[in-house]
């Protein structure tokens, strides 16, 4: 076991501490940095797995995510996303992939999980895109604390329990329209909805 670095509790600045650690893993396969990331993110990931009904596979999911982090860390670019966002997308993709494999029949999949949930962008290297991403991350963190509880509850169920808007409505016993309007209000406060569009 490697010793644990002292880590600030909250990610701030353009290059937060977790992103710095992830860069170290990518550049020099730094195992101490890797361990610090594990200490911080593994308990979150385990809850994520359990919340969406994969309790018996929770440890397996955490392991798969960390193996992926190791393999892909050299592709990580802190200017494009914070480590927490990057790790969230890996966790989401691994969860989807595990579920697909569990129910896979003999039929071969025409498209792989990453084909559907990994987004290559043609303008990914433009500075304005990077800046947008970093800004949006800070903004989300700061404005989420100002959202009313009922909006956070709905968003948590969608993200953590993989519930559709309809399922959230059924569970909370409120109309689907109410769920959707709570989400829309939250997204506009979080500035996810940047401008009027065809909805």
């Amino acid at each position: 076991m490697t010793t644990l670095d002292q880590q600030p509790a909250r990610a701030e600045g353009r290059k937060d501490p977790w992103s710095q650690l992830l860069v170290k893993v990518g550049k020099s396969q730094d195992r101490q940095a890797y361990h610090s990331l594990f200490e911080h993110f593994a308990p979150q990931l385990k809850y994520y797995a359990m919340a969406n009904g994969m309790a018996s596979h929770a440890d397996e999911l955490v392991q798969e995510v960390f193996v992926s982090i190791w393999r892909k860390a050299s592709l990580y670019d802190w200017q494009k996303a914070a480590a927490s966002t990057w790790i969230f997308t890996i966790a989401r993709n691994q969860r989807i992939d595990m579920l697909r494999k569990m129910r896979r029949t003999s039929v071969e999949m025409a498209v792989e999980t990453e084909d559907l949930w990994q987004i290559p962008g043609e303008d990914d290297n433009q500075p304005v895109t990077s800046l947008h991403r970093l800004m949006s991350e800070r903004r989300v963190r700061e404005s989420l604390s100002q959202l009313p509880e009922d909006q956070i509850t709905v968003i948590a169920k969608v993200y953590m329990e993989q519930k559709s808007h309809q399922m959230v409505a059924d569970e909370l016993n409120i109309p689907l329209g109410t769920v959707k309007s709570r989400v829309r209000l939250a997204l506009s406060k979080l500035k996810v909805i940047l401008q009027d569009q065809n909805v």
């Binding site: 396969q29 361990h35 594990f38 308990p43 966002t85 997308t89 987004i119 895109t129 991350e137 997204l187």
Partner: protein
């Protein structure tokens, strides 16, 4: 530049990883060409990360980290990846080289279809490619359940407007439309038809509930 986008709620379900494979495919194909929606998904992914951070934590055993290191050390294929593998496009992977030379089935007049549902085993939706010959007209029709469509080639118009390549359209029972293919290319779309009925068996291969 696309002008018709998926709504933010669908992008959120995509970011959360809640969409079926065919619906994720439609969103993914659109995102490929639409930086506007890509920015929204970036922000939504950050929302996912912050939500995860603010939820309770569940402790993991220290032995797990050693297991992970052991796995990394013992498998040569788990060495860090140096570069991104060049990829064929998602559509090519799904449909082959030329979208115009598929085994289309002529349906009515100017319309041909190709059902590709079998490429998505275990999903409760029908996935269909439709082709309207350049300048052709489709007969007026309505939809059962919800139909999510993305334009893969060419463009079409109906009473709601003009839909260009990579535009995104969601139609339901209330929408009757009469599309016309514009421009010099055949208009090819990919549509996902949601089953109007919820079935109880989880992984049962479904009988096709649609008669087209």
């Amino acid at each position: 530049m696309t002008r018709h986008h998926p709504d933010s709620l669908s992008l959120m379900e995509y970011s959360a990883g809640n969409l079926s494979e065919p619906h994720a495919l439609c969103i993914r194909l659109h995102l490929d060409k639409c930086s506007h929606c890509r920015h929204q998904v970036d922000t939504l992914d950050s929302l996912g990360a912050v939500m995860m951070e603010q939820q309770p934590k569940v402790s993991v055993s220290g032995a797990m980290f050693d297991d992970i290191l052991a796995r990394i050390d013992s498998s040569p294929e788990l060495k860090p990846q140096a570069t991104v593998q060049p990829k064929t496009s998602l559509l090519q992977k799904l449909l082959g080289e030329d979208i115009n030379n598929l085994p289309w089935k002529r349906q009515l007049g100017d319309v041909s279809v190709l059902d590709i549902t079998e490429k998505f085993p275990g999903q409760n939706e029908q996935v269909v490619l439709q082709k309207l010959v350049a300048g052709g007209k489709a007969p007026a029709h309505t939809h059962r359940g919800t139909e999510t469509t993305i334009v893969l080639q060419g463009m079409f118009s109906d009473q709601k407007g003009v839909f260009n390549q990579w535009d995104f359209v969601v139609l339901n029972e209330q929408d009757e439309h009469k599309p016309i293919a514009l421009g010099s290319d055949d208009c090819i779309t990919l549509s996902v038809l949601s089953a109007p009925l919820k079935l109880t068996g989880t992984f049962t291969r479904l009988l096709n509930p649609f008669i087209r």
